[in-house]
């Protein structure tokens, strides 16, 4: 029916009933092609995590449907979801979420074993993946002994070990310094382009825009046109043109996240003009 890996159609998530109810996501639609990297940005509370949870089959939409590889995962019974999550998704988290008691190798191999791979092949596959990601020397380390970048690479290997079609990444660079963050993004891009996997990233990180094929802006539970967005020249945050604090200067309009940023911006300009 469709060549899309992920097809989100008119999805709404409502928490609570009646007047007290809150719509965290309102009528969102999104289609992701194989090998495509989609970046979803938006301020805190915009519904990013809720949307990601629904795409990852961790949360059921109130209305609308989500298809993965042509399967309507939003309609599957609870008992079938583990299988889908295990084989078709790869998750990457901001906090890495490695199992603290297991070594690097075991952290990756256990997910393959849960997916039904035998113990030896699971370890072999995990070893190959980890070596490929430059962690060949770290196989027997415990997560607590690794740097942030290494942890995130382990998490990436774990996400890949069952050959998923879709990788969902939640703020993958937030806990990493910019150089390491950049490495991780390049890694994700390589995975998407070389292996034809789709990648959906939720992030605040402006630097990720460079590797994304498409950038979507989520605000108040809706996608907003990225063209309607501007970047705060002081704090580099993305802001909606319609709602932002603005100032005009030399015929150019600048948009700010807050009055504070505008004050600073204007203050900075004083010496140069005065």
């Amino acid at each position: 029916m469709t060549a899309f890996t992920l097809d989100v159609r008119g999805v709404t998530k409502r928490f609570g009933d009646g007047a007290a109810g809150v719509e965290a996501v309102r009528g969102v639609s999104l289609a992701v092609e194989p090998g495509e990297i989609v970046l979803i940005m938006g301020p805190s509370g915009s519904g990013k995590t809720t949307l990601l949870s629904m795409m990852g089959a961790l949360l059921r939409p109130t209305t609308g449907s989500i298809h993965l590889d042509g399967i309507e995962i939003s309609a599957l019974s609870e008992s079938r979801l583990p299988e889908i999550r295990l084989r078709r998704f790869g998750f990457i988290f901001q906090d890495f979420n490695l199992l603290s008691a297991l070594t690097v190798l075991e952290n990756v191999a256990i997910v393959a074993e849960l997916g039904g791979v035998g113990r030896r092949p699971a370890r072999a596959k995990a070893t190959a993946l980890l070596s490929d990601l430059g962690l060949g020397e770290r196989l027997d380390f415990l997560p607590e002994k690794l740097s942030g970048g290494e942890k995130q690479r382990v998490a990436t290997a774990r996400a890949l070990v069952n050959d998923p079609t879709l990788i969902l990444a939640d703020e993958p660079t937030a806990n990493l310094d910019s150089k390491i963050g950049h490495e991780i993004m390049n890694l994700l891009r390589r995975i998407a382009k070389d292996q034809g996997r789709s990648v959906v990233i939720v992030s605040h990180d402006q630097r990720i825009r460079d590797v994304a094929d498409r950038v979507l802006w989520l605000a108040d539970g809706r996608f907003t046109d990225v063209d309607a967005m501007a970047t705060d020249p002081v704090c580099r945050m993305s802001v909606e043109r319609d709602r932002a604090v603005r100032t005009e200067r030399d015929g150019e309009t600048f948009y700010f996240c807050s009055r504070g940023c505008r004050e600073e911006f204007l203050g900075r300009l004083v010496p140069s003009t005065g």
Binding site: R87, F89, N97, A101, L102, L114, L142
Partner: protein
């Protein structure tokens, strides 16, 4: 090893304090049960020492008396000759018996006092380490452990059966936790009892080839008002005495040991699951089924209980080896039945302990993975 078992093992192994608490707790509880069983089995073994070593094939006692420990058995003296006349009986030795206190200097202890005829073929001390192995009037053979504790030796006197007797021999292997065995002259014993022509037990040696059971049955048929038992039966009755009379105490201690073990394992497994709640959520988000997570929890419970069992076994085994060296007269014996029982206990404990965290795991929301910095 399956993936879940590996995780269970690692979860346990990586937290030393919790592992120690959990394994230590189970080990303590199981040791309690195991050691108690072993103590009673050991006491039962010791209790039958005299019966086993006296050399009799058949024991004849007052009708209805099937035991030795602390009881009384009084037969008319004529019974000895009546028993001698039964076909299959090769020899008889009458003894007098009472549970009495022997006292020397400030030391006093409970003893089986045996009144031994001068010509006794059997029933006397089987291992005399010093002095005579026969007793005459006014003489006594006592256990060397008691002699050492009291600081007396051959030539000194002790108080027994309300009179004084001079030590002529020291025997070995005649002491248990509960009592020792002392041998005095038959005539002295009878005199202390007012001179009535009675005997306590008649020890019988059967003719070569005769079955002790058959001879015992023949004695009961031909001699009125006696109970006759082969050594094996008598010994078994004596063991049952310990088991029956301690059954209630043992069952109460077993219940307590079980509850303590269960409480410790349940709480440690519960706390361990609580502490790794987020990681279980991660596994769930990654696609692990609830059943796989239960297996991890159950695996942890089973592993800690199994380790605890091994430690308990090792510890009790050590006690078995060390206690005889301590010279307290206490001997332990681990029986297969007791091992099986404690093993079963351990399994049930592990199973029950894993129930508590099941709800915790099943109600876990995998979406916790997206929540950050929240202390859960």
């Amino acid at each position: 090893m399956s993936a879940t078992l590996l995780l269970a093992r690692r979860n346990l192994g990586r937290n030393r304090v919790r592992l120690l608490a959990s394994v230590g707790g189970v080990a303590l509880a199981l040791t309690l049960t195991l050691a108690l069983d072993a103590i009673y089995a050991g006491v039962a073994n010791q209790l039958t020492t005299y019966i086993d070593r006296a050399g009799a094939d058949v024991w004849v006692s007052q009708a209805g008396v099937r035991n030795l420990h602390m009881v009384a058995s009084w037969l008319p003296g004529s019974v000895t000759d009546a028993v001698r006349a039964v076909p299959g009986v090769a020899g008889v030795t009458p003894i007098l018996y009472s549970t009495d206190t022997i006292a020397a200097r400030d030391e006093r202890a409970v003893a089986y006092v045996i009144g031994l005829p001068a010509d006794a073929a059997i029933g006397g001390p089987w291992s005399v380490v010093k002095g005579a192995d026969r007793v005459g009037r006014g003489e006594i053979i006592i256990d060397r452990g008691f002699a050492r504790r009291a600081g007396v030796s051959i030539g000194d006197s002790v108080i027994v059966l309300g009179a004084e007797a001079r030590i002529v021999g020291l025997s070995d292997g005649t002491a248990s936790l509960l009592n020792s065995v002392a041998f005095v002259s038959f005539d002295d014993f009878r005199a202390m009892r007012g001179g009535a022509p009675v005997v306590s037990y008649v020890l019988v040696k059967v003719a070569p080839g005769a079955s002790p059971e058959a001879v015992a049955a023949a004695i009961e048929r031909q001699v009125p008002s006696v109970t006759a038992q082969s050594k094996t039966d008598f010994s078994a009755q004596e063991r049952r005495l310990v088991m029956d009379m301690s059954a209630d105490v043992i069952s109460i201690m077993n219940v307590i040991g079980f509850v303590v073990g269960l409480a410790v394992v349940a709480i440690t497994v519960y706390v361990a699951t609580l502490a790794r709640r987020r990681e279980y959520g991660v596994l769930k988000a990654l696609g692990a089924r609830n059943s796989a997570l239960y297996r991890v929890v159950l695996g942890q419970a089973v592993l800690s209980v199994a380790l605890g069992f091994v430690v308990a076994l090792a510890f009790t085994g050590l006690l078995v080896l060390v206690l005889p060296l301590a010279g307290v007269g206490l001997e332990l014996s681990i029986s297969a039945a007791s091992l099986a029982k404690v093993g079963l206990f351990a399994l049930v404990i592990a199973g029950l302990a894993a129930i508590l965290p099941v709800r915790q795991v099943s109600s876990l929301d995998p979406a916790v993975v997206f929540r950050r910095g929240v202390a859960i």
